[in-house]
């Protein structure tokens, strides 16, 4: 998981590369580097350990017309200056995002031929391999070298023998080309270059691109030209900046009042009591024919998927399983063509999830992607795609993209329930009416964020945290634990409340806060007795409850955080906001790096 950029044109190459890399820091930030060809035709390489600012500090002002850059998140070899990209061999410089699976055997072969390796990375193999096949055509050499490689890559290649050309190629790692006026760009992701151009070409797998100042030519791996379509991107770039907030995460938590609306806009049909999902491309009969749903997702999206299971089963009566992408593809999935496979990924580039749906497609299943990024790889791989429209999310800890995924799952489940005659129009209308009120409820929780801050400060010394919930609140418990782990580095566990007594209760003691997600509902009495279980062991309880009722729970809980009253089924949308703020303020009190937690990156494009 890394980010690559490249530039060719008359602009200030060094600063354009630095600026683009900064926008890709969410993909990794443990070391960075760039290669440029200066006006004398000499290749100049700069690398440094740490964030982009560390690289900026060592790059002098040089005039140049072509360059490539890289921000790294270590997979092979430690995050050191030596292992930072670009990697070079002779006149060839390479930046790479992905993993070369057969690099050990290629490395031995190249060493026996006399190539000298100075880093521990798999990428250096690529540089030597290209050098080995190079005679006078750089594109041909890259194509031949890639023919020997197994694994995934998005690469940018330059050579000081060809100062007028950049070569790029892609397999299973994201890559786009930006088209400017007398200048062109390559990048792992759109935000990197949006400041300079909004004309984009999406590169598909096994394509090789020759980028010159005034032309972009795309070829397949046999060297045949490929026609590509140009896309105009209409996001505004500044939407991805902090706008007065101290952290992207807090800004994005606040944006949920807006993003939840965006997810619903034009999709609710209250009078009819149905959800309008034309883009889904599945009609009533097709929906009725599914016998099982298999949800595949990773990380936060997995927690959303788990709620999806309760919804599809509880509302629409379809048997549903949830698997993490990394497990699913190596299990022996039992899939029939009557199974609908739903993949949930914010970025649409999550390697594990992508691999899993490709696997599912090979069983003849319909695949439905729920993603936030229009034109992402998964939207091209899946047979059906719906977009969550949460807008760009920069904080590594997912917040608004998660609630939008939940909303999307509610809409989908209601739609399926209606199509399968499992829900009447009146119940659907009621749920949709309540859904419309959710952004208002969220803004109420945000108004009272001070209470949650107070709560976080009270338990900031805790070494361990437990989050418990039952039924639809269980995924929220998991998400609460995940958020806390991610950004505050406190050990946290999410448990189905009923499971406590089967083991984890042994860990409950005086110093362990237990967050109980306990809005009113059919499991309310049960979770109340779980709360008593832990208070009997002297643990502190933080209870998330509905506004109307906390007199009873107040007797047992040390801290009560109320959420506004809504339909029981929809409470996860609200309790989620509470656990997000709890994690945020805890990390804030502990002075953690909230937007860039250690060892993590936003979009996980490696397996």
């Amino acid at each position: 998981m890394c980010g690559i950029v490249g530039y060719i044109g008359d602009g200030d190459t060094v600063n354009i590369l630095l600026e683009s890399l900064r926008k890709l820091e969410y993909r990794g930030y443990d070391s960075a580097g760039m290669a440029i060809i200066d006006d004398k035709g000499k290749a100049r390489i700069f690398k440094n350990e740490g964030e982009i600012s560390e690289l900026e500090a060592i790059v002098p002002e040089i005039s140049s017309h072509v360059g490539i850059g890289h921000t790294r998140w270590a997979t092979h070899g430690r995050p050191t200056t030596q292992n930072a990209h670009p990697h070079c061999s002779g006149n060839i410089c390479v930046v790479h995002n992905g993993i070369i699976e057969n690099y050990q055997e290629l490395k031995s072969e190249l060493i026996s031929e006399g190539f000298v390796f100075i880093s521990d990375t798999d990428t250096e193999v690529l540089a030597h391999l290209i050098n080995k096949y190079y005679s006078d055509d750089l594109g041909l050499a890259v194509g031949t070298a890639l023919g020997r490689v197994r694994g995934s890559y998005a690469i940018g290649v330059l050579s000081n023998e060809h100062p007028d050309e950049l070569i790029a190629a892609r397999k299973d790692s994201p890559l786009i080309i930006g088209l400017g006026k007398d200048e062109n760009f390559i990048a792992s992701d759109i935000p990197a270059i949006l400041k300079y151009t909004n004309r984009i070409i999406y590169i598909d797998n096994l394509e090789l691109i020759s980028v010159k100042q005034d032309s972009v030519q795309v070829f397949d791996m046999e060297g045949n030209p490929v026609e590509k379509e140009e896309h105009i991107i209409e996001w505004d770039l500044k939407a991805a900046e902090k706008a007065g907030y101290p952290h992207f995460m807090l800004k994005e938590i606040h944006e949920q009042t807006r993003s939840i609306h965006e997810t619903m806009t034009g999709r609710l049909h209250e009078l009819e009591g149905d959800v309008n999902l034309g883009e889904l491309g599945l009609d009533r009969n097709e929906i009725r024919q599914f016998q099982r749903i298999e949800i595949i997702a990773c990380g936060t999206s997995y927690n959303a998927g788990l709620l999806g299971k309760y919804l599809f089963e509880g509302l629409a009566g379809i048997h549903t399983d949830v698997d993490t992408g990394s497990e699913f593809r190596y299990s022996s999935p039992v899939l029939a063509p009557s199974t609908l496979v739903i993949a949930i990924t914010q970025s649409g580039e999550t390697a594990d999830t992508l691999a899993a749906i490709r696997e599912a497609a090979s069983y003849g299943c319909r695949t439905l992607a729920i993603t936030n990024v229009v034109g992402s790889t998964i939207s091209r791989d899946a047979s059906h795609t719906i977009y969550t429209r949460a807008g760009p999310e920069i904080g590594v800890a997912a917040t608004k993209s998660f609630t939008s995924q939940l909303v999307m799952l509610y809409l989908l489940a209601i739609h399926f329930a209606r199509a399968r005659s499992m829900m009447d129009a009146d119940r659907a209308r009621m749920l949709l009416t309540e859904l419309r009120k959710i952004p208002g409820h969220v803004s109420r929780i945000l108004e009272d964020a001070g209470t949650i801050h107070e709560c976080a400060s009270m338990f900031v010394k805790a070494k361990d945290y437990f989050f418990i919930g039952r039924n639809i609140n269980y995924p929220v418990a998991l998400e609460g634990a995940l958020k806390l782990k991610e950004i505050s580095y406190i050990h946290a566990e999410g448990y189905a409340a009923g499971e406590l007594k089967h083991g984890p209760l042994a860990l409950i003691s005086k110093d362990v806060p237990v967050v109980a997600i306990a809005p009113q509902g059919h499991t309310y009495d049960k979770i109340l007795s779980n709360i008593k279980e832990v208070t009997a062991r002297d643990a502190s309880v933080i209870a998330i409850v509905d506004c109307d009722d906390y007199c009873e729970i107040e007797k047992f809980a040390d801290f009560v955080i109320p959420i506004p009253k809504t339909d029981e089924v929809l409470t996860p949308l609200l309790s989620t906001v509470v656990i997000q703020l709890l994690a945020y303020y805890t990390a804030l009190e502990l002075k953690c790096s909230i937007d860039k937690p250690r060892n993590l990156a936003k979009s996980v494009t490696v397996e």
């Binding site: 505004d236 770039l237 500044k238 939407a239 900046e241 706008a243 007065g244 907030y245 800004k251 606040h254 944006e255 009042t257 807006r258 609306h261 806009t265 034009g266 209250e270 009078l271 009416t433 419309r436 009120k437 952004p439 208002g440 409820h441 803004s443 109420r444 945000l446 108004e447 506004p564 009253k565």
Partner: protein, 402 residues
């Protein structure tokens, strides 16, 4: 030139609407007051804006972000503790190094207002004034020709008809005078004291009178007047909504994307409706009404001369007139607002006059069916009101009324 907008204050006289947002974020013609100011600055070519924020700053930051959607660049500077305009301006000292314009975030202005002071500026500081017949409650300026001799805070006597708009052009010199401004009797550092200090020091402070728009909403109900005034002069953009067959939309009406107007509805402009709303069937919306985004007006409801904010649901068979409904209210069927004239409304023990008013309702209330509000009786925020209740007194925050 950079602009400094003062937007940190609470707007206590606009309770209950300002319990959840600052006064500058109150909507007029479906846009926060502050957005009208930013639009005017943008039209005058001023696109570098420093916003002094404090009370409920998140609402402002969420709406304006970095300003890119408004064609400007916004920097937020926090004023901790609202202890006067001079203190607020002092916060921006490290952000300006040249002449700059200062505006209050809660007065609506148009581009001409700003170009008047830009064109007429001179001397060491310039004050924009407007002529008003009644100046009670306003700050006024005493001058000889254009030279300001004395600047007076909220007066009760008719000393001058030149009202101080709080729009100034300063140069960085002002920061030195702010340093030596002492605290006033009311416990504030007022910029008017700073300016008086400059005048006494022999500096050349001038005034520019403008006949362009400058609207000041003191109380929440003044918003209705401002709203009607702004709607009278707006030019509706092309509608992109869905107007179903059998619905009638007449006059200057602006309707946002994804909004649906169901059959039998009758909308008579000037009216502004936001995006993603559902109106009707058979809803009647009469002039000088604005409806914020994501709101639902259920069948057979009539609304006139009112401000309905975003995310509001008004139940079927309701009648709303001369009223302001805050955001996120959920209202059942048969909701009625009674209108009264020449009302006296008590706030913190002081009576305030309202010429014509139905009710003002804060945010996030849950109002059941068949509720009636008596003239001028308001509902705060977060209340639940049971079916059949007659609201005959002010309902304070988070009340439950059975």
């Amino acid at each position: 030139m950079k602009a400094v907008i003062l937007g940190a204050g609470e707007g206590l006289r606009c309770r209950p609407l300002t319990l959840t947002r600052s006064k500058v974020m109150l909507p007029v013609a479906n846009k926060p007051i502050l957005e009208h100011i930013i639009d005017a600055l943008f039209k005058c070519g001023i696109d570098d804006i420093i916003m002094v924020v404090g009370y409920k700053k998140e609402r402002m930051m969420d709406h304006f972000r970095d300003g890119v959607n408004f064609g400007v660049n916004i920097t937020y500077v926090e004023q901790k503790g609202q202890i006067g305009t001079a203190h607020a301006i002092k916060q921006v000292s490290s952000y300006v190094d040249d002449e700059f314009i200062v505006l209050n975030g809660d007065n609506i202005v148009e581009a001409d207002t700003i170009s008047d002071i830009l064109a007429g500026r001179s001397g060491d500081a310039t004050i924009l004034t407007v002529v008003r017949e009644h100046t009670e409650g306003y700050g006024v300026v005493l001058s000889e020709k254009h030279r300001v001799m004395k600047i007076i805070e909220k007066t009760k006597e008719d000393l001058s008809h030149s009202v101080n708009t709080g729009i100034y052009i300063f140069n960085p010199d002002i920061f030195n005078y702010i340093e030596s401004t002492s605290i006033s009797e009311t416990g504030e550092y007022a910029i008017t004291d700073t300016i008086q200090h400059m005048i006494d020091d022999g500096k050349n402070v001038n005034m520019v009178n403008s006949e362009a728009m400058w609207l000041d909403a003191v109380h929440s109900w003044d918003l209705l007047k401002a709203n009607a005034y702004m709607l009278d002069r707006f030019e509706p953009p092309a509608n992109v909504c869905m107007i179903e067959d059998g619905a009638v939309v007449r006059g200057r009406v602006s309707i946002g994307p994804d909004t649906v107007i169901h059959p039998g509805s009758y909308i008579l402009g000037p009216v502004v409706i936001g995006k993603n709303c559902e109106i009707g069937p058979n809803a009647v919306i009469l002039p000088s009404t604005t409806i914020g985004s994501n709101s639902t007006i259920e069948p057979s409801t009539m609304i006139k001369n009112s401000i309905i904010m975003h995310d509001v649901r008004v139940g079927a068979f309701s009648y709303i007139s001369n009223s302001i409904l805050g955001a996120h209210n959920s209202i059942g069927s048969h909701f009625i607002t009674e209108t009264g004239e020449d009302l006296f409304i008590e706030m913190k023990g002081i009576l305030h006059k309202a010429a014509k008013l139905g009710t003002v309702i804060g945010d996030g209330n849950n109002i059941k069916h068949k509720v009636l509000t008596e003239p001028g009786k308001m509902i705060s925020t977060g209340c639940s009101i049971a079916s059949g209740v007659n609201v005959s007194r002010y309902i304070p925050r988070d009340s439950k009324v059975f």
